[in-house]
Amino acid sequence: MSNRRLTSILKFSLLSLMLAFTNSAFADPVKAAFIYIGPTGDHGWTYAHDQGVNHLKDQLGDDVVITRIESVAENSDSERVITSLARKNDIIFTTSFGYMEPTIKVAARYPDVKFEHATGYKRPTDNISTYSARFYEGRHVIGKIAGRMTNTNIIGYIASFPIPEVIRGINSAFLAARSVNPDIQIKIVWVYTWYDPGKEADAARALIAQGADIIMQHTDSTAPMTVAEEEDGVRAFGQASDMSAWGPSAHLTSIINNWGPYYADRVKAVRDGTWTETDTFDGVEEGMVAFAPMENMPDEVMWEAQDTILDLDAGAVHPFTGPINRQDGSVWLAEGETPPMFPDIITMDFYVEGIDSKYPN
């Protein structure tokens, strides 16, 4: 290492040290608030956000003061809660799609407060950012594992509500599974809830009874994992957070919604005065979609999954790469083609060819 380089590093470190000192000692801490759709104990969507907030706190320490409010319904109450938060905070994260219109309304009234809306698409004022993750990349990885691990060639999929996010996940998992196992079938059950352990368990049992030996879920509770654990030869994937504790012998891996680094970045940006309106849609490459340790599978399957993750990490593969037809047989993507983010991925509202179920409409 050259001297010059060393000096510059030293200078830089000194500078950042001073900066950090100024910020933490003299500036007020950033007040950041988070509004959650469910209870933090759901072990799914809200839990994952809350883990991200814990990461933020670890990273910024005294530079941030955090407010969290849970179980805020997506109705007219949320506008009041967001307003209450806006009166006392510098940046507010609204972590569910249904907070979109309320976030926009409040943002217009509080131009000095920054807003971050998860999974939304509207940014009418320059104090709103949106962020979400390419979870379908996670589904791509677990789809490959599922295709290899199934003996019955049937994947059971517990789906919540037919929104693009969930549809993308189904299509992605199915295509990946079929790419390694042409005989794969997917059975989809819509439970119309994000969180009802009893109903999710009933759905898992129904799918297993119909021959599924791999359970995927796009709901929030750990119930499907516990059902897989009690049935011989059934494996399952966790959702949003590491659910291995509920299925020591059934758990293959979990897709982890890793919001922590994003939250730390955005709050740091407010602290440093560099926050600007953005639209983030990160995936495996950026670390927003991560995985729990892989287990209960042969090494070859795990290596293949790890390779897939590396490919996604390098941006070398896209879960939706043509040729892909829609369920009705019409062409969606030609050979080698990948879809544009908008509208195809953002608004996805069809099953791909090969999925037998009726699209819920």
């Binding site: 059975k187 819509w190 119909q210 509770s221 750990t222 509920w246 179920s357 009726k358």
Partner: protein
């Protein structure tokens, strides 16, 4: 459809129906005594938590179920005190009980969302449980499943075969008259309410100990309300509670299976079926016997009793 699938469907239906049977048979006795307790959901969730917590700490399923029973009774005693001693309105007090129960369970249970437990294991009777078809269909359930049916029988037996049952029904139909001939209306009702709490508590524990071995706030997800509706469905006849719970639970499970088999009906509409079918079946039952009016509804249901003497 193969044998295994049919057996799985039947077992699935029983799992969905049993919590409803417990909660509904308790509420049935309560309503037979002339008390309308809309707090079933709140009592169930408290039972679900108590069962889970005790199972987690002791590993004893017996103690867990006992705890759920006692917890259900404990919270029901608030209702009993308010409605029977302080003469509050049943409907409002029951709703308040639901709010209170959901709140207290969620608050106390916060640290338990991280935990999981072993499921209560199913019964295994040598020989019998191993019989083909009949074994899994009749002899391999969780003990609580059998208990649910036993409780229905006991409630029927109590109501219609014992003197106390007769008195309880008389109180539900005309508390003033029953009081006039010397029966202690309040004591009967308080005991009925406590029994209702105990049954709702076990029903809740069935969710957290048998259906899924986890605890989560709001995990009853409206089952207490369904149980209330099933009491009405039963026309306050114990055995019809089983019928109602099997229809409701059965259609819930069958619609999940129908989705897996890709029945070409949108899932939203399939999901409505259990609710609509419950109404339609009750109406068709009523259409069949035109002569019988709604005589079985306890006349004093929801009415406040105060002895003046």
């Amino acid at each position: 459809m193969n044998e295994g699938l049919i057996i799985a469907i039947i077992i699935g239906i029983s799992i969905a129906a049993v919590p409803l049977i417990f909660a509904a048979i308790g509420e049935l006795l309560v309503e037979r005594s002339g008390v309308l307790n809309l707090g079933v959901e709140g009592m169930m969730i408290v039972g679900a938590l108590a069962g889970f917590v005790v199972e987690f700490h002791t590993g004893s399923s017996f103690l867990a179920v006992l705890a759920a029973l006692l917890a259900g009774m404990a919270i029901a005693s608030i209702f009993a005190f308010l409605t029977q001693i302080l003469l509050t309105n049943h409907v409002a007090t029951g709703l308040a009980l639901t709010l209170f129960g959901l709140g207290i369970a969620a608050f106390v249970g916060r640290s338990y969302t991280e935990e999981n437990i072993e499921l209560i294991s199913a019964l295994h009777i040598p020989v019998l449980s191993d019989l083909p078809v009949i074994g899994p269909l009749l002899f391999s359930y969780n003990p609580l499943v059998y208990l649910a049916f036993v409780m229905v029988f006991l409630v029927w037996w109590f109501l219609f075969k014992t003197k106390q049952g007769l008195i309880l029904r008389a109180i539900g139909d005309n508390h003033d008259a029953a009081h006039a001939i010397g029966h202690n209306v309040v004591r009967y009702r308080v005991l009925a309410i406590l029994f209702g709490g105990a049954m709702a508590g076990i029903g809740g524990a069935f969710l957290s100990l048998v259906q899924v071995p986890i605890w989560g706030e709001d995990m009853t997800a409206g089952r207490g309300w369904i149980a209330l509706a099933l009491v009405v469905f039963s026309s306050w006849q114990p055995f019809k509670v089983i019928l109602g719970a099997l229809i409701f639970g059965g259609i819930t499970i069958l619609q999940l299976h129908a989705q897996g088999f890709d029945v070409r009906i949108s899932a939203q509409y399939l999901s409505m079926l259990p609710y609509i079918a419950t109404i339609v079946i009750l109406v068709s039952l009523r259409m069949r016997d035109k002569n019988k009016t709604n005589r079985t509804m306890p006349n004093c249901l929801g009415r406040i009793f105060h002895s003046t003497s």
